[in-house]
Amino acid sequence: MNITQYIFWFLSFLALLSALMVVFSKNPVYSVLYLIITFFAIAGHYVLMSAQFLAAVHIIVYAGAIMVLFLYTIMMLNLNKETEPQKKTYIQIIAIVALGLLMVTMIGSIKGAEAAQPIADAAGIGTVEKLGDVLFNKFLLPFEVSSILFLSAMVGAVYLSKKNLQ
C-alpha cells in the first residue's frame, strides 16, 4: 500500500462515519457539523482524483454557502433541541431492512460489471483551463440557462419567506 491508498481509505472511512453520524445524531446542529466533515472528505476525494477545481468549488458551495443556510434556518426556527420525537421502532426496523435490500441490489449489480481501464492521458482533465474550455464551448447554453434558474430560485425564495403573502 502506498501513501495515496492510505489517504483514500482514511477519507472513505471519515466520509462514511460522519455520514452515519449525520443520520443518527439527535441534535440538528450536530448533524450539520458532521455533514461539513463529510463534505471535506469528499473534497479530499476530488483532489485525489485530480479534480482540483471541483474540490475548490465543492468546499465554497457546500461548506461555505449551503451549510450556512442550514445553520441559519436552524437558528431562526430554534430547532436545536436534544429530545426530538423519533419514528416508531418497527418503522426504523423496516427502514434498515429496506436499506439492506437496496445495498444488496446495488452491490449485486456492480459484481458482474467489468472494471474500466484507466485512460493513459487522463491526468490534468480537472484543471481550470480544461473545464473552462468545455464549459464555455460545449455547455455554453446550459451554463446560461442555469443563471435563469438561479434568478428564479432567488425570486422564489424571497417571495416565499415574506411574512404576508397577500
Binding site: 495515496t4 483514500f8 472513505s12 466520509a15 455520514a19 452515519l20 449525520v22 443520520v23 448533524s31 455533514l35 469528499i42 476525494h45 476530488y46 485525489l48 482524483m49 485530480s50 479534480a51 471541483l54 465543492h58 458551495v61 457546500y62 449551503i66 443556510l69 442550514f70 434556518t73 436552524i74 431562526m76 426556527l77 430547532l79 426530538e84 420525537p85 419514528k87 423496516i94 437496496l102 445495498m103 446495488m106 452491490i107 456492480i110 484507466p118 485512460i119 487522463a122 491526468a123 482533465i125 480537472g126 480544461k130 473545464l131 468545455v134 464549459l135 455547455f139 446550459p142 442555469s146 434558474l149 438561479f150 430560485a153 432567488m154 422564489g156 425564495a157 416565499l160 419567506s161 411574512k163
Partner: protein
C-alpha cells in the same frame, strides 16, 4: 497524479458512493425532522457527484465534471427554495415534524 488512479480500482469508488447513497436514503426513511431530511438528500446528491467525478477521471472525459458543476448549481438553488418553503411551513404549522404534516397522506 496518474499513479493515484492506477493504485485504486474504480470499483472502490462505486462501493463508497453506493454506501453514501444508502446512508442518505436511510436518513430520509428514519428521521422526522424536515431539515435533517434535507441534509440526507444532500448526502445522496454528493454520492452521485462522487461517482460522476470518479468515472470522469478514470475515463478521461471532462463532461462528467461539468455535470457535477451543474448538479452543484441545482443543489444550491434547491436548498435555498426548500428552506424558504420550510420556514413558511413552520410559520403556518409551527413544526417541521414530517409526521404532523400529513394532510396529503392517503
Amino acid at each position: 497524479m496518474q499513479e493515484v488512479i492506477s493504485g485504486i480500482p474504480l470499483v472502490n469508488y462505486i462501493y463508497i458512493s453506493a454506501a453514501l447513497f444508502g446512508i442518505g436514503a436511510l436518513g430520509v426513511m428514519v428521521r422526522r425532522n424536515a431539515i435533517v431530511l434535507f441534509m440526507c438528500i444532500e448526502l445522496m446528491l454528493n454520492a452521485v457527484n462522487l461517482l460522476l467525478v470518479a468515472f470522469s477521471s478514470y475515463l478521461g472525459d471532462t463532461s462528467g465534471q461539468v455535470f457535477v458543476f451543474f448538479i452543484m448549481a441545482v443543489a444550491a438553488a434547491e436548498v435555498a427554495v426548500g428552506l424558504a418553503i420550510l420556514i413558511m411551513i413552520y410559520r403556518n404549522a409551527n413544526t417541521t415534524d414530517t409526521e404532523v404534516l400529513n394532510q396529503l397522506k392517503w
